[in-house]
Symmetry: C2
Amino acid sequence: MTVPSITEQITREQAQALLARHGIAPTEQRLEIARLLFAQHQHLSAEQILAQLSRNSARVSKATVYNTLNLFAETGLVREVVIDSAKRFYDSNPDPHHHLFHTDTGELEDVAPAQVQIAGLPGLPDSREVLGVDVVIRVGPRHTD
Amino acid sequence: MTVPSITEQITREQAQALLARHGIAPTEQRLEIARLLFAQHQHLSAEQILAQLSRNSARVSKATVYNTLNLFAETGLVREVVIDSAKRFYDSNPDPHHHLFHTDTGELEDVAPAQVQIAGLPGLPDSREVLGVDVVIRVGPRHTD
DNA sequence: AATGGGAACTAGACTTTGTCTAACCCCCTG
DNA sequence: CAGGGGGTTAGACAAAGTCTAGTTCCCATT
């Protein structure tokens, strides 16, 4: 179920283009983190990224991983997903979509937005805007009440 | 905007009835926590509850607050709301509803479910069921791009 | 070539939220 | 009155994330 460690990589140039599109200066560490995250559409935690990078013997500190993920999230390069109040995940799927969370396994699945529709939003003052709508569908093993 | 400290209380008997309905043994501490939470529809964190209780000079330990909130959430007496991955909130509004989160102030508002509609859910194997659908609408001050 | 400044990185200390553990208390039952 | 179990407690602990002070690197200016 877990992804084999032979993840298809994106090139440095592709990573650089992604950062450039979001106005992010392309440093060594940011490129490494971007290449890892965007190797495929996935949901990774800071911890996982840190572990994977040191496994790849890339030199990156914890602080930089956190700083970089926050930077990526602020600029909209990745999406921060809050599911489990103990950990943040970063989603490299740029398309609008929702999430299906398996409470027993901790797995997180993307759900096409067409399957879930938000019919209307409450009125807001002009001074405020909707930053995002997060839909999380929690599923688990069926209860045999 | 913050609620005055003169919160209307519910009686011990009402609290006791709530616990009984969910099969929870009515101890002193659980009753106090329930009376606080159900004084009105609101979203409180463990920290806030602990602070308010000690302000009321009720004797409750941190461990008991956490244990009790987990117990309440497991039995469905309150709803755990995950918004801010740094803190859990417990929602005493028993009716199905969604949430509006103000990213700047940290305020959390209820949204009537009629305003948001879930059109369809992805197919699931018979062995699994949907435990809940959480919709969080994040709003903040309008960007002047 | 030397100087100065700014952005980014690092290690490690620190903070915060929540969990765990061991002892204790209280009530009920036999 | 002994034993047992559920509940509570204080405080130690764990995990995730933030902060700080110092360093490095690059680049522009002299």
